[in-house]
Assembly symmetry: C2
Homo-oligomer: 194 residues x 2
Amino acid sequence: MKSTRIAIVAFDRFTDIDVFLAWDLFNRVRRDDWQVKIVGTEATHTSVAGLPIPMGAQVEWANEADIVFFASGPGIRALYKDPTYLARFALDPERQLLGSMCSGALLLAALGFLADQTATTYPTTRAELAAMGITVVEEDLVVHGNVATAAGCLAALDLCGWMLERHAGREVRDRVLGAVQPVSKGLAWSGASR
Amino acid sequence: MKSTRIAIVAFDRFTDIDVFLAWDLFNRVRRDDWQVKIVGTEATHTSVAGLPIPMGAQVEWANEADIVFFASGPGIRALYKDPTYLARFALDPERQLLGSMCSGALLLAALGFLADQTATTYPTTRAELAAMGITVVEEDLVVHGNVATAAGCLAALDLCGWMLERHAGREVRDRVLGAVQPVSKGLAWSGASR
């Protein structure tokens, strides 16, 4: 059976929660045919809060992934105008789901996947994204076909939920998102498996 | 000026988001006198999803911290009945805020801080906590004086929020929690600083 591959794209000075929330959610699927890797350009990348984490693969692994999730963070400003970095990606929304958190939209735009579309991003990168000719809208999640942008860290729940539903079904999506809700506010004693 | 120290207690097989959400939120305070460390018993601990992260200090650092946040995860079952591990802690709610996420309540209970109180925990550890004589209630956050238990990953927002308000004030709490809300659902274009 072919695996489902999920690539979370990280880099130095990534926003901690925008990598780790997606990492946690995607790993809750817990199926043998489900592979989640954080990918980058070095063996290790360090978050904006100073936490170094090992990469599971280099960014090229994303090119063969089913789902590509661009994280965000101040470090993205050194990358989205770097032709050498951008040239390492060969993505295709015809065969892949592509999504971004917050400033990750700058990479999706630089790679050409937001042209003639609306998109969302974090307040602090709104002007930069608009300067690239993208119509930026004040929404938490914007989906066009197989490309989605999300903004505001907790909107990762909606973005990952959309990706999970598309690749694993509604039931898995509901189980995964339900398992992280607060007890008595979405998660009952009777629920959850971890 | 004396620093405010925050210790996030981790271990092997920690639940990813229960360490990383607190880590992200506490680091958003960004004050020079604010120190956040993930502490453990080894140089590196690996999450339940398989991510190894370096510890900022050994668990004894928590004994001098102002805020001690016990994370959760399957690995806690090997620890909360281990006298050698428990003996490394010398915590005191008279001078420290103590809190737990999900199964972290088992450690707070084993250390004697939940006696004669109500507490909450994740559904899967409810029976174990009750077997220690604790009155377990189906709530997202339970606070008694300087000791709090929270359950369901996203309840970390409330637990960290309580800790932030106590040590940094309401304004900092509101800024930090506001910065991670979804755009248009708690975070406006005009908000946020990262």
